[in-house]
Symmetry: C2
Subunit: 116 residues, 2 copies
Amino acid sequence: MQATQPDQLSQTFAALADPTRRAILARLFEGPTTVNELASPFQISLPAVSRHLKVLERAGLITRDRDAQYRPSTLRVEPLKEATDWMAPYRELWEGRMDRLGTHLETLRTKGQHDA
Amino acid sequence: MQATQPDQLSQTFAALADPTRRAILARLFEGPTTVNELASPFQISLPAVSRHLKVLERAGLITRDRDAQYRPSTLRVEPLKEATDWMAPYRELWEGRMDRLGTHLETLRTKGQHDA
């Protein structure tokens, strides 16, 4: 039985579900980085970093240079865009709630002033 | 050996890494919903829906009514807010690239008009 390839969005979220992988992406946000440079701040082994990079690469969140000596990794933001697009309505719901709470508190405050 | 509890953000992303769970959240976005109502559009069994709801509940993305007869589930947006906050800089990077591309295309277009 062949395993079904998960959809892109599921792969993106699964790749993000690890604090070390998120820290690696944050480092790559600053520019392309080699495995050695990525490993140094994390207190984890090079093979462990390589395993995380493989997960990120399979999910399309990074590309790795095949030719350069230290194979620097580069961030790909497109899958992250798809993920933030998916979350946008929920964010609006949250922000709407905050707006309504603000209005409610403002009403209470004004009412308090009038009652005083 | 006791497994370490994953951090909230990792739990959120892991819970989102499944198309059925994302569809359940989209349905709950419209309001509290029972297991039966959730199962009907998905062609999956009630126990399968219940397993997905357990994952979402453990991740704090839903709450379930303990008392009401059909235990309706309610969306909790706070963990999603944390997740979108984490993604915000990457979105800005993406949008910055789009802005620069737009400026570049505009320059090419204007140049084309001047050259004509």
